[in-house]
Symmetry: C2
Subunit: 393 residues, 2 copies
């Protein structure tokens, strides 16, 4: 059963970038110009493809994107910019469309220039391989240390028409603890105004990917691009449309599902943990505390060791740049209170059953206001260190 989104074609091939011989070049093409929105890394060092695609997305209308894995084309100077532009031009020629409508994205090692001869030679084949059933090849071609391709599909009736949403992502567990290259491409045949799409898209990103990748802790290459090509035949989705909620729910669910696939594939991780901070002085402070806990190597290794070492959680809370009352912190594992007023409730052995689960919540209540935040993290494992010390990604 192939994945079909009306009017989109895709392909993925091996072009000679990856030493492994695995697919490393992908192309996504809409048969007509599509409403396009995107968000990009907040890292101050931005890869050449990010600089170029960010500008093109401002038109809110694009038609294709070429993506390579195995090489980030970051820190490659003016040569890198030239290469990224050349890729767009080569694809535009093959597809017979304007270069302005072609975006570019890269992921992989930083600081090495692209092997342009090999890529250039592969582009005709890449274009010829375009197929309505090619989305899974494309999903494979954008992988780096990912162990499986990440694709989510949702179908809805909007304005009486069948509308398909297809989200594709690559993570590599580097999302946590610090920066990953997170690439994600969402395509739909829905007809929708660009302003509304932008609004729904940003909201969905904020409540999914942005919960796993803090501002400023992003890689040089992160981008999330969404294209809507109107081929479902619905009349333009409006803010007041009765079907708005249906689409919004599917869009949010697509992002949340992709996020879960990314965390599931986080390099070497064995668990997914939601860190919830409640009753902080402000949402901002709640977020700082949640990230301090979620990014603490000591907390994450304790999760891996299934050790109910809540002292490490409390110590992480205490080092956050936030106003807390050190004597009045409560900590729950799922619904079990293990710390009350900053001291043990004696429930450590019961908490053992929770920490053994592959997914659970840690709630930290601060009794200091009404600020809230929630972020998702994984455990830190020996496998993570092995992967990140042995692979030159």
């Amino acid at each position: 059963m192939g994945i079909l989104v009306t009017g989109f074609r895709a392909s993925g091939i091996f072009s000679g970038i990856k030493q492994s011989g695995k697919k490393d070049l992908g192309l996504l093409f809409s048969e007509e110009p599509a409403t396009t929105v995107g968000v990009f890394t907040t890292n101050k060092i931005k890869a050449a493809p990010v600089l170029i695609t960010r500008e093109k997305v401002k038109q809110r209308c694009c038609q294709a994107i070429i993506v390579n894995s195995g090489n980030a084309n970051a820190c490659t100077g003016t040569t890198g910019l030239q290469h990224a532009n050349d890729l767009c031009q080569l694809v535009a020629e093959q597809l017979g469309i304007s270069e302005n409508l072609v975006m570019v994205s890269s992921t992989g090692i930083i600081g090495v220039t692209l092997p342009m001869d090999r890529i250039e030679n592969s582009i005709p084949k890449l274009a010829k391989s375009l197929s309505p059933l090619g989305l899974s090849d494309f999903a494979e071609a954008i992988m780096t240390t990912d162990t499986f391709p990440k694709i989510v599909v949702k179908k809805d009736k909007i304005d009486g028409k069948e509308v398909t949403l297809c989200g594709i992502a690559k993570g590599s567990g580097m999302v946590m603890p610090h920066m990953a290259t997170l690439l994600s491409f969402i395509v739909t045949d829905l007809a929708i105004h660009a302003d509304l799409l932008e609004e729904l898209f940003r909201e969905a990103v904020n409540s999914s990917f942005n919960r796993i990748s803090i501002d400023g802790e992003t890689s040089t290459n992160d981008m999330v691009i969404m294209m809507a090509n109107s081929r479902a035949g619905n009349s333009n989705l409006q803010k007041q449309s009765s079907d708005l909620k249906t689409f919004k729910n599917s869009l949010n669910a697509t992002f949340v599902d992709l996020k879960k696939l990314i965390l599931k594939d986080a390099e070497g991780s064995t668990k997914m943990i939601s860190i919830r901070v409640k009753e902080a002085r402000s949402n901002e402070e709640a977020k700082k505390i949640a990230y301090q806990v979620a990014n603490s190597s000591l907390v994450k290794t304790a999760f891996f060791g299934e050790d109910v070492n809540w002292g490490r959680i409390i110590a992480a809370v205490g080092k956050a740049d936030a106003d807390i009352d050190p004597e009045h912190i409560d900590v729950f594992f799922d619904d079990l209170m293990i710390v009350e007023n900053s001291t043990s409730t004696g429930m450590e052995s019961r908490a053992k059953d929770i920490i053994k689960k592959s997914e659970f919540q840690v709630t930290i209540t601060l009794h200091n206001g009404s600020g809230m935040a929630e972020v998702d993290t994984t455990d830190l494992t020996t496998e993570y260190v092995k992967i990140n010390s042995s692979y030159h990604t």
Copy 2:
């Protein structure tokens, strides 16, 4: 060859806190009240002994400190405070001195109350074991996951008298990436005014320990205490004394040597790396960038894998909250320039020889001002994760 500091006695015994049966209770005693200064954790969650000892050090005159390992007496509420006070009182009774002159310090697991019956029963033995040659027993008694005791001794001629400085520390590699319990006790028989001692002490801490443990990234229990008991017989060291520089150098060297011992013993680490940031907009920004690099799991795993993956360094620079020019970053491994204007100099294979060393420097030049900072870090190893996931510390 025992270590002697005139007028100081020390001991270390097993009292029943550690399951391993290793020494877990130490006592340090000056035969007369000593000029005392200290610095304490900046974590908002402070262990009971930190709260109590911080107050006592304000008098700048103390005579003894009792230290236990295996239990941090942190997040133990009013019971914990009572226990810490009781320890001081029990020691004061045994030594026949005022309780006001007795400090207390703890390290180990958070959130568990001290086994006071066992400790109380051991205090007479602890006091009886006090010996001028007991400093090495004391150094052993304060260890947690440390693999060796850390002691540094310096001797100087000051005002014609022989003065001895002895620094003792416990680290456990948890200093990096986030928080360690760092305890350190420095004793000297020098005569020196409290104001001057405070000044020299803070300067020495800032250029040593504070370079490995960022503000707010400290544990609940950190403390560094220095006692000077005047028994060397020199006339009070003054700011204008010709011997000031001699003592200052020895004090700084003591802290730097202790820092090196701590990094050497960092849990599972195989390397020590100095991260230097130059030409940042300000010292403050240089510091932020240096810590972002020094604490990056990706950078630290690359060091472990001896992989000249400078892209991870650049990406870490880019996520720091600092003003940088993304096109003009240079990176050196020791004196070898591997990145110029944010692109490769092609020197990766020569840099391989440097990254294989057990100690080297990474210099990041930003061409954006005159701000500088330097921090020391270690690599992140599979052994680190094993230690921190298997041991309940």
